[in-house]
Structures are given as structure tokens and as C-alpha cells.
Amino acid sequence: MKKIKDYLPWIVYFVFFLGIIVVDPGTHYIHLVARVIIFSLYAVAFNLLYGTTGLVSFGHALFYGIGAYVTGMLVKATSPELFLLYILLGAAGAAFVSFFIGLLTLRLTGIYFTMLTLAFAQLVWGLTFKLYHFTGGDDGIQAIAKPAILSGGVTKYYLFSFIVVTICIYILWRIRRSPFGTVLNSIRQNPQRITFLGLNVYKNQLKAFVISAFFAGVAGGLYAGLDGSIHPDMLHWPTSGNAILMATIGGMGTFFGPIVGAGIFTGLEEIVGKYTEYWSFYIGLVVLIVVLLFPNGVLGIKRFSGNKNNEEKETEVVCNSGN
């Protein structure tokens, strides 16, 4: 029974993301779902820090952006045939940079950590304008070609993204369920106790930071190929904020929540964006409703009501320890 419950989100995941190909609602919608799946990876990677370890990074756009820019620039400089390798190199680049940023920022806690991650990301965002020769300044990089087997119709690239994202999310899922994932989740609850279990809080946080940045980088690289263009906005702070919003809407306390959040976020942007350019206002409204009514996010609703029942029953149970 428990096994089935564990794998149920995976079943829903496969049914939805593969079903969309079967239904084939047309290029526009496949492109939209491709964005959802890429953002899903970005949000799930981010949530390893946010919901699991309890670290609010406001600079994840940096790692997403590094992934995109490294991939884009390598394709431009050489040929698109090694696209997958370039995505991995972009992710490795993001991980490399995150190691040094983590080394510095993780010395701080709470809002100071958050602000410093923001500062680093904004710094690099500013640099992309100055380093015009490499980054194309505010034009970004256009016409990033895809390898021959992935070009021609968005469905092929969607399938490619689906496979890459699924492998990455599976790896993150395994990490979350491992002893290391348990340590991270416990750091969020009580870092002092972790220290007095003989474990180094800082080192574990740094590992989580680098892993999170790596997979955010993969998402960025995939996005570079989807639109064939990248621009400094990918490194700008709203991209960092989007990760927080997606994870919060979907449920930061759950593993699959951020995927739902990515879907809701992208869906709203699409639907509301048709009627008004002020779509971000409606996103704000949704976030407000979620935070006020379902503080554990959409996927956290069930758990939320479950807790409520417990509170009604009995708040304190005496189990007469020690005999």
C-alpha cells in the first residue's frame, strides 16, 4: 500500500507529461508544457534548498542563467551537435560558481543569506551588460541552433527536455529520500541538534547549495535550446523570485509541489497574459490566496487538513517513557 502511495505522484507525472504528446494540442501548447517541465526542474532543484534545507536563496537566477549562457555561448562558438554535453557543462559551470558563492553566503543565516545571494546574482546580471562581446549585452544571444535530430517541430525538443528533466528530478527524488536528504530536512528543523549529532551543518548546506545550483543550471541550458535565444532577464532577480513563487504555490514541504507550482505559474501567465499585460498582478493575487488559505501550498492541502484533525483529537500524548 505504502509503495503505491509513494509512486502515485510519479504516475501522475508520467501520465500528464507523456499524455500531452498523445493528445497533441498543437505546437503552441506543447511549447507551453515544455516551459512547464523546464521550470519544474528549476523549481524542484530550488526547493532542495528552500523547502528541504530551509535556506531561502534569492539568487537562483544566477545558476539558471549560467546554465543558459554557457550552453548558448558554446553552441554559438562551435556547433549544436554536442548540445547535451553543453547543457551538462553549463550545469557544471553553475555548480562551480555556486561552490564559491555558497562558501561565502552560507556563513550567514536567515535574511542576510538571502540578501547576499541576491547581491551576487544581481552583480552577474549587471556584468552581462558590460561583457558585451561574450554575452551580447541586453540583446542576449539569438538563434541558438539545435542539433539536427532535435530540430523541426517542438515535439522533438519537448521529448528531449522531458527525458533530461525526468532523469534529473528522479536523481533529486532519490537524494531527498536518502540519509543525506534526511539530514538536510533536519537542518531546517533544528540545526543546533544536527551539530550535536556530530554532523557539520555548513558542509551539508554547501553540498545542497551546489547540487541545487547544478540542476538549476540544467534547467537554464534546456531553456536556451527551447526558445533558441537567451537574454539577461534570465539572470535578473524576478527569475529568482519565480522559483520561490512556484515552490510556495505548489507546496514547499512536498517533493512534487514545485512541479504543480510551475504548472500553475506558467498556466496563469499564459491564460491571464492573453487578456491583460498585468498578469503578474494576478499571480500576486494567487500567491496571496495560497499563502493565506493554504500555507503549505497546493500539494500541502491534504497534509494541512490531516494535521488539523490531529489537533482536534489531542495535542499532547503522554506515553509514559522510562517505565
Binding site: R174, I175, R177, S178, P179, F180, G181, T182, V183, S186, Q189, N190, Q192, R193, T195, F196, L197, G198, L199, N200, N310, E314, T315, E316, V317, V318, C319, N320, S321, G322, N323
Partner: protein
């Protein structure tokens, strides 16, 4: 009995306050000892200093012949000196079982495994059940830590410490905030665990029944200074201690 933990000339200031004033103590192996003293005497600070949680200004801490004065707190834990806290320090969202299981993973150094399902470690699960049975929490293993009573939460905190199979167990007011019957239970539990695990136990306590009931050696801290140490009978009649802390009517 040999000395397992030796504190030499330990000193600490917080601003202008001298919280630990040139303290010298030799803790003997296998000893059950108490540290008493009025509020603000520097008892918890003393624990924080010897566990590496805050750095000392001066002095050395020698554990089993090894200088650990500047060692990181997690490394001191790995050497075998483990503490429980005045306010129970547990993982509130997890079940009692998972609290102990995580400590077991740390004990068997499985905490860094990154791709294996966390529940797949048989040594850790066997150890968890052993600890839960030993400490009397087995029948409430599936409760969330946040659902426990205050007393049970303190017991869980001590259980987490014991899971690491320490040589020295430091307890900061194990009976703080407990009802009288819970205190008596805690007292006999600690005595039993001390003997079973062959621990060196050092506890801070305000409950004098417990202090004089189970401690073999009592040390008295007042304003950061060690003013007396000795067996219960000696401390009971120590004039400076009576004046500074115990008061005449207590005994």
C-alpha cells in the same frame, strides 16, 4: 578511576561579566556528577565551552588525553562527548522513531549516503529499536515529536544523545519543568542508563532531591567560580555552599 575529562584554568568573559572564572575540574571515568549553583552562575556556559559551542578565552579542555579546547563541536561529539539540552532539542516534525533513526544514521556514519533510501540501513534500524526499548519510548515510536508531553520530549532528547553511544553524557537540567512524579521517573531512568551504558554522566540540576539522590560528586558554581566539590555529605555541610546557594531551610 582515571580522569576522562580534565578542565584546566577555563575562563570566559561576556563583556564585563566573568561567566567562567579560572575553573579547574577533573571528571573521573564512570562518575555520576552534578553541577549546581544559582541562576546565572555559568553552568550552561560551562557546558557550551567544553562542548566547543562557544570558544573560551583561556584555559584548556583535555578529553582522554587529547586537547579539544579549539575542536569543532561536531568533532567533539564524534569523540564521544554528547549533550542533551535544557530545552529539549529534537526534530519536531519527525516521529519519535525517525528522530532516533537519524541519530543512528549519524552514529553509523551513514548520514552522507546520497542515493540509497534512508530506511535501507539495517544496523541503524536495529540500533534505533534497541534504544527505543531501552529508554521506554518504543510504544510511542510513531508519534510526532511535537505531540509528546514535555517530559517525554526531554526523554527523547536524552535518547538522541544516547543513540550516539557516548562516553560522556552532559545533561542540562534533565528535570526542568517536570511534574514531581516525572522527576522521580527521570531520576531512576538516568541512574539505570548511567550504569547500563557505563557512562560518565555530568548533569546540571536545580532539583536537590535528584542531585543528592544520584550524584556521587557535586560541584558548586557561583558567579563563574567553582566554590566547592565533593561527595553529597560534604557539600551538604559546606558552609559557603549553604550560604551561597542551598540556604539553611532546605536541608
Amino acid at each position: 578511576m582515571s580522569v576522562i575529562l580534565e578542565i584546566k584554568n577555563l575562563d570566559k568573559h561576556f563583556g564585563g561579566i566573568h561567566v567562567t572564572n579560572h575553573v579547574n575540574i577533573g571528571f573521573k571515568k564512570g562518575e555520576m556528577s552534578a553541577i549546581i549553583g544559582p541562576n546565572g552562575a555559568g553552568k550552561t556556559t560551562f557546558f557550551n565551552l567544553i562542548t566547543g559551542f562557544i570558544p573560551s578565552d583561556d584555559g584548556t579542555v583535555v578529553y582522554e588525553g587529547q586537547d579539544i579546547t579549539r575542536a569543532r563541536p561536531e568533532n567533539i561529539v564524534k569523540l564521544g562527548m554528547v549533550r542533551a539540552f535544557q530545552v529539549a532539542s529534537v526534530f519536531l516534525e519527525e516521529t519519535v522513531y525517525d528522530n532516533i533513526y537519524l541519530a543512528s544514521l549519524a552514529h553509523f556514519r551513514k548520514n552522507a549516503k546520497i542515493f540509497i533510501n534512508r530506511m535501507a540501513f539495517q544496523d541503524a534500524s536495529e540500533h534505533t529499536e534497541f534504544i527505543l526499548n531501552k529508554i521506554g519510548l518504543f510504544h510511542c515510536k510513531d508519534l510526532k515529536a511535537s505531540e509528546l508531553s514535555h517530559g517525554d520530549m526531554k526523554v527523547l532528547d536524552i535518547a538522541i544523545a544516547l543513540t550516539l553511544q557516548p562516553k560522556i553524557l552532559l545533561l542540562d537540567e534533565p528535570t526542568a519543568g517536570m511534574a514531581p512524579d516525572e522527576r522521580i521517573k527521570m531520576m531512576s531512568l538516568l541512574k539505570e542508563l548511567h550504569e547500563f551504558f557505563k557512562l560518565t554522566t555530568i548533569f546540571i540540576e536545580h532539583d536537590m532531591d535528584m542531585v543528592f539522590g544520584i550524584a556521587e560528586i557535586i560541584r558548586v558554581l557561583v558567579q563563574g567560580q567553582l566554590i566547592a566539590e565533593g561527595p553529597p555529605d560534604y557539600i551538604r555541610q559546606h558552609e559557603t555552599v549553604i550560604e551561597a546557594y542551598l540556604g539553611k531551610e532546605v536541608l
